[in-house]
Amino acid sequence: MRKVYLDHAATTPVHPEVVEAMLPYFTAKFGNPSNLHDMGREAKNAVEDARGKTAALIGARPEEIFFTSSGTESNNFAVKGLAHANSQKGNHIIVSQVEHFSVLHPVKSLEKAGFKVTQIAPDKQGIIDPEAVAKAITKETVLVSIMHSNNEIGTLQPIAEIGAITKAKGVLFHTDAVASVGWVPVDVQALGVDALSLSGHQFYGPKGAAALFVRKGVRIKPQIEGGVQEDGRRGGTEDVPGIVGLGKAAEIAAAEMPRRGSYLLPLRDKLLQGLQEKISDLIVNGHPTRRLPHNVNVSFLFVEGESMLLFLNMAGIYVSSGSACTSRSLKSSHVLSCIGTDAAAANGTLLMTLGMGTSAEDVDYVIEKLPPIVQRLREMSPLYEDMIKNRKTT
């Protein structure tokens, strides 16, 4: 049976060249980078090489890259670290309503600690209006954190425009680019951001290796303290193989970057068009053009997402219902509810994210297998029956 993995937003496989780059650091080159002897130096050099490659992918300087254990840690580090280090200026933070929980929940903890928070609502396609951010900024504002692209609906935010505003107003700007880096060009200079989160396993690097870019000169409080690793900003023996893997993934992404978009976009559109042609009553969530090239997020009315997932799984198709990181909780997606998707439609939502290993045949296979599943589930749905009756009478 064909196996089609369309859940690259949840996690990607590790690129074979990445695994190959990591392996020596699991075995022969196992030194602790803090050591002065040759084994330590060899590990330290590998970490610094990876820092350079990670920096190059996003147009940063190596000394502006701090390695962490996950996108979640990077976001916690950015939000709490920047807010606390700059609280002499004020206590107001601006975020969007559609941020990942690893931004929203740290913000909530800051709120408990006395910070004031403004949450900007997106439009129906998930876009945050830069003007709304500009209006929300006060003299007390220390930090704006708006994600580069949404992990569920794939909407790309006007980060550079927001960056111009925050720069003019002298407010720090963090962007969670975990869903974007490796899929679309991301350049910290062009975006005008002061901090940016990225995560290895989202673009063919290993899980457990991520980074935070912090612009030189920006003050940030460490969250994990101990040894003086990462320039004293993040304690703990470095995950050398993981970091080497992240560096390699960054190098590959930088080399492939123009091709990734041009490879994925036609496949994404083919999948979307194929489903639209064969299935009625579906809503495409997110923005039609300002979206990640590999992201398809569709609500199938009168169907339950988890059931679709089960049938698709049996057909060898692996997708996600709503956001991967929270799919184990049955609460519906806060992102869909923020863009005005009603609960019933949200319930029938599938997130399909393509990858560089996805072929046109894979897409054809999904277009062949999904419509009958939707049809079969709809035939079992009393809501669907009612709807058909109503349509006939009106």
């Binding site: 993995y5 803090s34 002897h37 084994m39 703990g236 193989p241 993981g242 988890e306």
Partner: protein
């Protein structure tokens, strides 16, 4: 000459069986454990199996284990978490010889108005139980004392210390980063409420650790996000490394009894050999109550740099502790133990491992005999 690595307390290689267990999760089984399709389900099962294996080694329930990115994170989680839950002004007790991953979070909370008592140690590096009993105050929120010291290997009488703590209802955290996998660390015997585990100190990968949290003990999370690790530690799990940590625990269990005595004998061979070679050496730390693999030796009349030069670049050891290797200040551990300056300056930590052989030890002795004696 082949390289001789005697710095296993800094980091160990990954055991071949550990890497073997990890490989599928770096290649074909790459799912996100939170995904509900079969890629996710098989990864979730692997994580839960690893949790069982860690729990087996520590003698606790799987549900009492939270995976972290390493010992530093585990230590930060406990100290800052308890501080947050207890509220400002409360009192903490630790020792002067803790790892920076405990000392730095303690200094952090001090800056926010908490009081911290740093208990002294005797010349062997042992904390006096009576001193602990006297230090406990009505508002003491946590005691954090390490199991085995990373530099000198001295093992604290944790069971004795936790008796005092529990009689006064104070939770006890034990940084066991350096002891797990080297000696028996059963949480019920130790009587601890929190215990820190570091993967890369016992043949699991870097970038993974764990925290034992006794059932029923309250600890607010340090990071906030989605609901991973029962909300205790959000972030997509470091799948392959967690599997590696589990495999390393399983591997360590039967080796505790054989490797300990073997490495202890090798260490004695080293120390006795150096003495017989006519070098004026002193053992730092407790002669008996110490990790069998850790031999912190002062070379009187030489500083550490000279000893390392004598060893040559193919023999890897640490002067003082690895994690603050960039600075050449006297080790805070040796200072706390009252080791005189003339000895602490010449202290070298030899830490042995499963791959260490008699021949390697003899080579080291021979090298130092040739290059150091008479200088």
């Amino acid at each position: 000459m082949n390289r001789i690595y005697l710095d296993y307390n800094a980091s160990t290689p990954i055991a071949p069986k550990v890497l073997e267990a990890m490989m599928p999760y770096l290649t074909s089984k790459f799912g996100n454990p939170s995904s509900s399709h079969s890629f996710g389900v098989e990864c979730r099962a692997a994580i839960e199996q690893a949790r069982e294996r860690v729990a087996n080694l520590l003698g606790c329930e799987a549900s009492e284990i939270v995976f972290t990115s390493g010992a530093t994170e585990s230590n930060n989680m406990v100290i800052k978490g308890i501080a947050k839950a207890a509220g400002k002004g409360n009192h903490f007790i630790t020792s002067q010889i803790e790892h920076p991953a405990v000392l730095e979070p303690c200094r952090h909370i001090e800056r926010f108005g908490y009081k911290v008592t740093y208990l002294p140690v005797d010349k062997y590096g042992l904390v006096d139980p009576d001193a602990l009993a006297k230090a406990i105050m009505p508002d003491t929120a946590l005691i954090s004392i390490m199991h085995a010291n990373n530099e000198v290997g001295t093992i604290q009488d944790i069971a004795g210390l936790t008796k005092i703590a529990s009689s006064r209802n104070v939770p006890f955290h034990n940084d066991a980063a350096q002891s797990v996998g080297k000696i028996s660390c059963r949480v019920s015997e130790l009587g601890v409420d929190f215990l820190t585990v570091a993967g890369h100190k016992f043949y699991a990968p870097k970038g993974v650790g764990a925290l034992y949290i006794k059932r029923g003990t309250k600890l607010p999370p340090m990071m906030h996000g989605a609901g991973h690790e029962h909300g205790m530690r959000p972030g997509t799990e470091n799948l392959a490394s967690i599997v590696g940590l589990g495999a390393a625990c399983e591997l360590a269990m039967p080796l505790l009894e054989s490797e300990g005595p073997r490495q202890k004998k090798l260490g004695q061979r080293l120390f006795e050999g150096l003495k017989r070679a006519g070098l004026n050496v002193h053992l730092n730390g407790h002669p008996e109550k110490k990790l069998p693999n850790t031999w912190n030796i002062s070379f009187e009349g030489h500083d550490a740099a000279a000893v390392m030069e004598a060893l040559g670049k193919d023999i890897a050891v640490s002067p003082g502790a690895a994690c603050h290797g960039d600075t050449v200040n006297a080790s805070h551990v040796l200072v706390a133990m009252g080791v005189p300056d003339k000895l602490s300056r010449g202290a070298i930590r030899f830490s042995l491992g499963r791959e260490t052989t008699e021949a390697e030890i003899d080579t080291v002795v021979e090298k130092l005999k040739q290059n150091l004696k008479g200088k």
